[in-house]
Symmetry: C2
């Protein structure tokens, strides 16, 4: 079937979807039976419950028609087969291929790219085994026990969120730390915690020229040099994750290089070598393999065209409804798991950098709202904090809850007749109901209006497969929404201008008086 | 002068303010001169620059009229003098008094409450000195080297954000860790990092009955007991921060108790014993004294009625303009300092819990938007991430930048002709200009529309006084906005319903089928 790329407001389905443009009360419909039946698997052992979401049966039918008209699944299939779906940069989009083959072989210049990614994973696994066995040691002969990832944006947020999510679920093989901010205090803080002799630094930059990352590398090299360890050779403590053609690749300044290519966007790179090296070193090759497997399961499940059987597609379409029918500008991601403390920050990047755009994939301005503002913090903390606004504020924010039946560590205690894990999940269940149904009170200050829609992603335990299942769920959700909005979700031109202007300050070439004045009051020299 | 409590839309000033209800282009006006002159001190060595904000000279005049009509400064003065301004809970609001006396003496039942707070600070300082000197040791005779704060919401976010912000600026006297989430993995993760023999736990709960905090205390006691350390006595490793009448106060189960009272709201408690004990133990009494001083300076500067001379009031009024004239629902807080990594989360609580309300202080529903959604992450990370949406998305988000001329650690290196600190601040200056002025490009995908307003709070170096100056700036800003909206910014009824429903799940008393079904799929037993 030929693909047709239409703006959302050019579809026949859109005006029909908008026939109901206010939130219909769903509190009365939120019965035990609906909770049980509006619940479908999303892969990797996770389920998606949409019983408390904003949509009715009628809306669901209309959303199916929209998904079909926008050829969402066909476009996904085309992407999987290596089409240059990233129109802005004229690139393929191949992060799914890092974790499995679902479409046709993607071959470029005689290289099968699936095999290329697999080869990197094998090399990473071999390298990790040697580091763990002490076959490769630091330059002074001591075994490596710490790994520091130096990257920014997608080279940082995803791998960091995944590491933090899993470090208590497995026995770490090495401690992992991360430096991202060009703020010198960020690097100084990490350096103060490590012994250079037993630390391996991973420099992650696709181009090999990322200003912040190279500055942080140099700051570290300077610091190590000044510590004057006899026989210390920095090149034996650095590895690169970069493209084959970058200045970092295979240079004498690094111990080894692992490769990515232009078809893996930063925010989609956690399952490539960008996440692979640090996660394999820190947690072991088996854990990384399990991560690839969980994501692949969800990628595969995402191919189903029926939104009642495809949780990712359903979640995406409910998001379109919230954004373009109900006009709600934000979404909160609320994981009831402390291990997911940085997962909302990763999703914030994933979503806002992918779909925070005003022009379609052909460069034409669109006349509807696109990607929402995404924020979140782990519950139960948020309950004692910003939930106030979510319950009683003047704006409605759709909520995306995440929970797990069991804790990671399994260490728990019964107080007042229940475990902490039961308290945690009782609070999660209670919040869904409180947001949906509210509670009448004759004191208006204690009145809860309810009608605050939410969905719930949940599973048995936050292990590697469940985590990457979550990751792939959101990656594919954002991709599906991009197809509905007719956006290119895979470029990021919006992050460029600031870089250019910053450079013009630093090399003295700017003639913008205001820019010079801001630089002056901020002490830039 | 008698105070008059009016809703925003009952003022004469409001319709006049709304005569201009679209964003006027400020890019052409954003000259070197404006950057230099639209810049005023806010106290504690910090400046507030509003050259790139959304307001014109005319708007500023109208905002002054509104601030005057709503008697914002008079209401602040009344609050300082101990009036029961927290109408919902019939309480005084006295967090300013923890750091200095600005109004009349506040005396209750013969106790001067300023003296009560000062007495707690002296007791904390004495206690800290004994812990640091090893005069008070753990139950097995070893010196304490680690302190763990167990609290949730305001007992966690503020103190944690402040500790993280300062731990690299001073030489820590003890390591501090925090447990907040009832998720048992949160406690397990912290316990795995500490030696019980040398660790002091601080239980923070005003009522002494906070479910999550007591569950975490019990989880820790259980864990320590099972480790079977000979001679270990948990009561010698616990202190309480609580109210004098709470079950935790002065009990045999704790080494000592430090007191707060009902007039210090959780999210405003960082400068009370809630922040005082952990910060004094971790960083020393001098640092905490310096924190009190910085906040007090800003509190004092906040008394000025002229918005062109009172940065806190000006910031508050610009926020009202963004929310109620321009209709913008969100605000992003973007500190260019990695040390402020958790400061946005604290501000998120502070703002959204204070002003995320739909009824006024008399319990009547209001017909205008109140507190915005607040989110943020440190730059420069955000630049490589969600700034895409901020620059090119379909929604405008007003931005609140924070920066410092110098780094905390002073460790830096020159690469490509500039220090990391200069790179950091060049990026900050560049972003302000990029957001304000944009950049035309014939490729619409590379076009930046600009017109994205921002403000900048900046200082010399992020030390204790500057940090608490920032804290007080935002606390007082939120308070002023609450006065404009005629809200009670000091209660939080919106966090109650979830707690009640969670309890009904755990004690089996709920008869809501949907709630039972959610609890079941989440494995609550």
């Amino acid at each position: 079937m030929a693909l047709e790329w239409k703006n959302l407001d050019e579809t026949d389905a859109y005006p029909r979807l908008r026939q109901t443009d206010t939130l219909v009360s769903f509190a009365d419909d939120l019965s035990e039976n609906r909770v049980r039946s509006w619940d479908i698997p999303t892969g990797a052992g996770l389920n998606f419950n949409f019983a408390a979401s904003s949509v009715t049966e009628t809306d669901l039918k209309r959303l199916q028609v929209l998904a079909d008209e926008q050829q969402v699944i066909e476009k996904y299939t085309t992407l999987l087969s290596g089409e240059r779906i990233n129109t802005g940069e004229d690139r393929r989009v191949l992060h799914h291929l890092t974790r499995g083959q679902l479409g046709e072989d993607v071959v470029e210049n005689g290289t099968n790219l699936r095999e290329f990614y697999q080869e990197q994973n094998r090399r990473i696994s071999d390298f990790g085994a040697k580091i763990h066995a002490g076959t490769i040691t630091g330059s002074t002969g001591r075994k490596f026990d710490t790994v520091v990832q130096i990257g920014i944006g997608g080279s940082d947020l995803g791998p960091r969120a995944l590491y933090l999510a899993l470090k208590s679920a497995y026995t770490p093989k090495m401690k992992a730390l991360f430096i991202s901010n060009v703020d010198p205090d960020d690097a100084a803080e990490v350096i103060s915690q490590v012994n250079p002799e037993t630390t391996l630094f991973i420099i992650v930059s696709k181009s090999g020229t990322t200003q912040e990352t190279l500055a942080n590398r140099d700051l570290i090299l300077e610091k190590v040099k000044s510590s004057g360890i006899a026989g210390y050779d920095p090149s034996k403590h650095l590895v690169a994750v970069t493209s084959k053609t970058s200045p970092l690749a295979d240079s004498d300044s690094v111990l080894d290089s692992f490769y990515i290519d232009d078809y893996i966007g930063g925010r989609y790179s956690s399952t490539s070598a960008v996440g692979g090296v640090v996660l394999t070193l820190a947690l072991g090759a088996d854990v990384f393999t399990s991560l690839l497997s969980g994501a692949h399961q969800v990628d595969k499940a995402s191919l189903e065209p029926d939104i009642r059987k495809n949780a990712v597609l359903l979640d995406a379409m409910i998001g379109i409804f919230n954004r373009n029918v109900l006009g709600l500008p934000c979404t909160a991601v609320l994981p009831y798991s402390q291990a997911l403390s940085r997962f909302p920050a990763h999703l914030q990047q994933l979503d806002m950098e992918s779909n925070g755009k005003s022009v379609n994939r052909s460069g034409k301005e669109v006349a509807y709202q696109t990607g929402p503002i995404v924020f979140g913090e782990p519950g139960t903390n948020g309950q004692h904090s910003f939930y106030q606004l979510l319950h009683q504020g003047t704006d409605i924010v759709p909520l995306q809850f995440v929970g797990f039946r069991k804790s990671q560590a399994g260490e728990d205690v019964v107080t007042d007749g229940s475990t902490s894990q039961s308290k945690l999940n009782a609070n999660l269940a209670a919040q869904i109901i409180a947001f949906a149904k509210g509670s009448k009170n004759e004191n208006p200050n204690k009145n809860f209006m309810g009608m605050r829609p939410s969905t719930l992603l949940y599973g048995e335990r936050l292990d590697a497969a469940a985590l990457s299942g979550l990751l792939a769920h959101f990656e594919n959700k954002v991709m599906f929404q991009g197809f509905c909005w007719n956006l290119n979700s895979f470029d990021q031109e919006g992050v460029q201008l600031g870089k250019i202007l910053a450079k013009s300050v630093l090399d003295g070439s700017t003639d913008d008086g205001a820019l010079k004045a801001y630089s002056a009051i901020l002490g830039v020299d």
